[in-house]
Structures are given as C-alpha cells and as structure tokens.
Symmetry: C2
Subunit: 348 residues, 2 copies
C-alpha cells in the first residue's frame, strides 16, 4: 500500500476541461461542487452538503436525492447497474434519516443495446425495489446513437419521509462521538476492478451493494441519537470522514487495526497499489453517535445482514482545525486526506 | 408533407436490440413502457400513464417526475440543454396540476468537455429555475470516458404540490370537452433540426422551450375545471392526442385549419417531409376542458407570453373505440396515429 501517493494534494489549478477525476468523489468533485454548482444554485438545502436535501412540503419533512449510475461493467459479482441504482438512492435517503418511499428511473440507452440486457437490469431494479420496500412510480427513456453512450446509464431520484423533529447532519457531530462503520470496506470497488483487470482469486470478491434503510430505522427505533450518517461510496471512508470533519469543524481519530478489511480485498488492494480507505462501497455506512450509545449501535447494526461486521473504528475529538488522523498498527499517526485524482473511474 | 409515410404502422415485431425509435416518444417507446417497464414495476401510479406520478406523502398530494436530456446540439436557438432540463421537468409537474417546488440535477459529463460549456449550461439552468420559481436542491455528477457520452447529459427529477382534491388526468376527459393548444406547434423540433441540417431561413426558428406552470396555475385560479393536460414533447400533438383518447376511451376530432403552425416551421417541415403534428415542442400544452369554459381557457392562456397563440383546435366525441380524426382543409377526415419509427432523434 502506498497511501502517500494518494494523499499527496493536487495543485489547485483551474481545469479547463472535465477530467475523469471530476466524477471520482474526491477533491476535484468537491471543487466542482464548491466552485461551480453551489454558487450557481445557492440555497440552504444544497449548502448543507448532505447526501440528499431535506425540504418542507406542506408541513411534511421530505428527503429528496438523485444519483446517476454509469458503472462498467453493467453486471458484476454481487450486483448490476439496476440493483445498484436502487440501493444507492435508497441509501442516500437513509443517510438523511428518511424512510425511502418512491423512486424515479431515467434510462439513457445506447442504440444497439441487446434488449435482453435491458430486461435483466429492469428485473433487477424491480427486485431491489421490492426488497427495499420502495415503489418505482415514474420514469423516462432516452436513446442515444451508437458510440455516444455505453449500453445503459440510469438515473434514480428518490423521495422519503423524515420523522418529525429528526435532524441527522454533519453539523450535529460533537467531540466524544463514536465513529462506527457497518462492515468491511472496499468490496464494491474491488469487485468491479477485479472483473475489469481480470484478477483471479480463490473465490471472487462480491460487491457489498445493499439497501441500508432498515438498518438506519432500527437505530432510530432503538432510541440511538444518531448525529450523522454517510454511506461510503465514491471516495470511500476517507472522503466521508474528511467531509464530515470539515462540515462539523472537528477532528476525527481512527485506529488502523480497527478498520475492517477482508483478506481478499486487502490482497487485491496490495496488488493494485490501492488503499481500501479510498475504495468505494455501496452497502456500507459510517455512523456518528454519542459515545455512551456506541455499544448499542454496534449491536443493532449487527442484527442486519448488511451490518454483521459493524465495529467502532474511532472517535471525534475537539480540534483547532478539521483533521482526520489514523493511528497505524505501529502507533504512528497519519493524516487521512480526500482522494486526489481518480482512483477508479465508473465504479457506480 | 407526406403524413402517410409517418402514420403507416410498423409491424409489431419484437426488437432484439434497442433502436433510436425506442426513445422517440412514439409507438416503440409506448411498447417499451407497456411490455417491459409496466409489468416489471407494476403499481397504480405508473399505470396511470401520466407525465408524472401523484403520490401521497404524509397526507400531502405530491407530484414526482423525471426526465433525462440528451439533446444535440447542447446549445440551440431559443435555449440549451440546461434551460430545457428545467422547463421539461417543471412542465411535467404542471401537467399533473402541481406547483413545482424542487428539482434535482444529475449530470453525466464526457471526459474532455470544455469546462466553459458546463458553466454555461449550469448558469442557464440556474436562470431557468429562478424564472420558474423552483429550487434546485440536490445533485450528482458522473464523468464517463471520452467517446462514451456526448458532452453533457442531464437528468432532472422534480417534486411539486398538488392542490387538495384536484385530479387532472386523462381519465377525466369527457365527450363534449374542448381541445385547446397553447400556441403554434413544431418550433422546438424544427429549431434543433435547422441547426443540425444547416437549413437557412430569413430569420432563424427559435425553440418554444418555456415553463408552463404559471399558465396552468392561472387556469386553476380562474376556476377552469381542467380535465387533462399534456405537454407536447416527443411525438408531438399526435402522440399526446392518441394517448389521451386511448386512456379516456373517447374520440377526438380536430380541424386542420385551426392547428396553429408558423410559416417558417411549415416551410421547414415541407422541405424535410415532416408533419408538424409529430414534431416535438417544449413549451406547448394541450388542455381538455368543459366546452362551456373553452373561451375563458383561451383567454387565460393568452395572458401568459408562452400562451399568446392559444386556440381551440377541436373537441372530444363519444366513440365506440379510441380514435383521433383530423378534418382537412378540404373536408376529408384523416386518422391521426402515433409516431411510428424515429422522426428526429435526440430532440430533448
């Protein structure tokens, strides 16, 4: 593993064309949001920099979110673009503390796509929606000429209902909070990359892609005072922690030997020179809860199949400036920075 | 004009690959929805076959819709992909009788896109949102490799609030209803095509792209009992009328000499062998209202700049089977069918 090459900051140049890294969930994505989108559309919902917006509609507190999915290949071990498009958007709603209710689906199909591929993706979306207990209620299909797409791109948007009075947001994170992840890291990204790079292991790495809303609901039903949640997608754990430390203006200290990484993922990362902290997950979250509720949170998460590997990996500390530190197995502290450049394009 | 070549039905073959026509808003789009999407995702909201879904959230009646935009070129006379992506989704909400409130935006950018193009599109979206009085509150950006996109694709989803007790839907259309269009037809499609084909006219054809929600609100505020609305996008007036006649199980009779088409659009259609009834609009609607309110409806529509050319073009008739007829200038009746094949790919 060579984290230095990843954490070395890119120069703050102005990029005159769009780079793959602008979609990577790291520094350039962050710059695009801060310098282009936020100034254009400025409003408090966007400025909350959450996974979704929470808006008031006729007295109800509604979460609203969107994601496009351009993953390559369309079908991968443990999932496909259809189930991913349902899980990703359901999870963004869950990260706002919302119960996901309805999804939309917008397809951009490439001329010449085998109809059977579309059928498989649609069937997978329908099954994922059934499992996540959401209804897909509206949609749209566009077709682009051959060579102007890549089979199927899907956008899903979702709306969900937030419990009255509930606010789950980075701004609620406090020094002392426990930092808990719901399972082992890096499986989604390495499942995709193993297929693309033709890596062979004893058994194949399966994506962790899964819906997380019921797990979040069980925390809330169980009385856990959840301060913040983030699903660990593009940019991985590191980007999520850096974003939250910046938004909450706190330090975050994690322990390397607590961060769960499966043996196969660790081996694949080693071979490819990647750091699991930066690899995307599609069924993992980080939760910030009061220290006194850490044990209960881990117990509740472990009752869900997607949370069986839940564990506390660190805690929030008061800090003069936002900073994420990881104490290594030999006791040295390393600064965890956001992903620079593009590690792995078209992972979701 | 050669309408026969357009209305000639395609054989009902099973297509084993996706064709451009599957995204054209005509028969193949219809087949894809009926045979693939509806059976997979079956629920009453989808089965209403409306421009958007109307769902109940915590007692509020909320309209929810999505559209992806793949128009080529990105910038065209009278608009660009950014303003189009706002107008199109705002209008779908308006067609459900909803007041548009919030939009999401999902960008799929092609590696190498000039950043300046993105800036222009985002600025245009922000201005269109301001004019339409909606807030863009959540978004997502993905980047695909060079040659796997075409500059910018945008998806917008939107949520809006439907007045309590209001139902605007094809099922409410009744024999005797007046059929009213809000202005001249075919400008959006012909603006795009003129650019693509390099057609030169004395003055250029500008897209009609415009937000229609305020116009709809003025009808409702004015006490018009609006039965159904449809914006005349892909597939044009003909597809909208056929869909409504099928959903409402009624006949629709329109008069060719009442259907408003500008001289330049008519000339361009003549040159290219297109029928303006099938050409896409992005700022036009058809309204079905009780006959006694036709005059009032036209008056109210004409108060809005986008409705200045509003006119009644026909009426609904009882019919043993769904049928749309157009009486020509010489008095002959012609059957108006849905668009077959793809007239004009990537128009929106």
């Amino acid at each position: 593993m060579n984290p230095e090459s990843i954490t070395c900051p890119l120069p703050e140049t102005v990029h005159e064309t769009v780079l793959l890294a602008h979609g990577g969930g790291g520094k350039l994505t962050h710059q695009l949001i801060e310098k282009l989108f936020l100034p254009a559309f400025k409003n408090p919902m966007l400025e909350a920099r959450h996974d979704g917006a929470v808006v008031d509609v006729s007295g109800a507190s509604i979460a609203f979110t969107t994601d496009s999915y351009v993953v390559k290949p369309l079908f991968f071990p443990g999932g496909d673009i259809g189930s991913l498009a349902v899980h990703g958007t359901v999870n963004d709603l869950a990260m706002c503390g919302a119960r996901p209710l309805y999804l939309s689906a917008g397809f951009i199909l490439e001329e010449g796509l085998p109809m059977e591929d579309l059928r498989r993706v649609v069937a997978s979306m329908a099954e994922a929606a059934r499992q996540a207990e959401v209804q897909l209620v509206t949609g749209d299909t566009k077709v682009v000429d051959r060579g102007k797409g890549d089979g199927i791109y899907v956008n899903t948007a979702g709306i969900g209902l937030v419990r009255p009075g509930l606010t789950i947001a980075p701004s609620r994170v406090r020094p002392g909070d426990a930092v808990i992840v719901s399972g082992d890291l890096g499986r989604h990204g390495m499942a995709i990359l193993s297929v693309r790079e033709g890596l062979e292991f004893e058994s194949r790495i399966e994506s962790d892609s899964a819906p997380l809303a019921k797990m979040v609901a069980s925390l809330l039903d169980g009385g856990v005072e959840v301060h913040a949640l983030r699903d660990l997608t593009r940019g991985g754990l590191s980007s999520a922690l850096v974003e939250i430390s910046e938004a909450a203006k706190v330090g975050i200290q994690i322990e390397e030997d607590k961060v769960p990484v499966g043996a196969q993922v660790a081996a694949a990362c080693e071979i490819l020179g990647l750091d699991p902290l930066y690899v995307a997950n599609e069924g993992r979250l980080v939760a910030f809860v009061p220290a006194g509720q850490a044990e209960k949170t881990v117990e509740l998460l472990r009752k869900d199949p997607a949370g069986a590997g839940a564990v506390q990996i660190g805690r929030v500390e008061a800090s003069p400036e936002p900073l994420v530190l990881m104490r290594s197995r030999i006791g040295a502290n390393r600064i965890v920075d956001m992903l620079s450049g593009e590690q792995l394009p078209r992972i979701c």
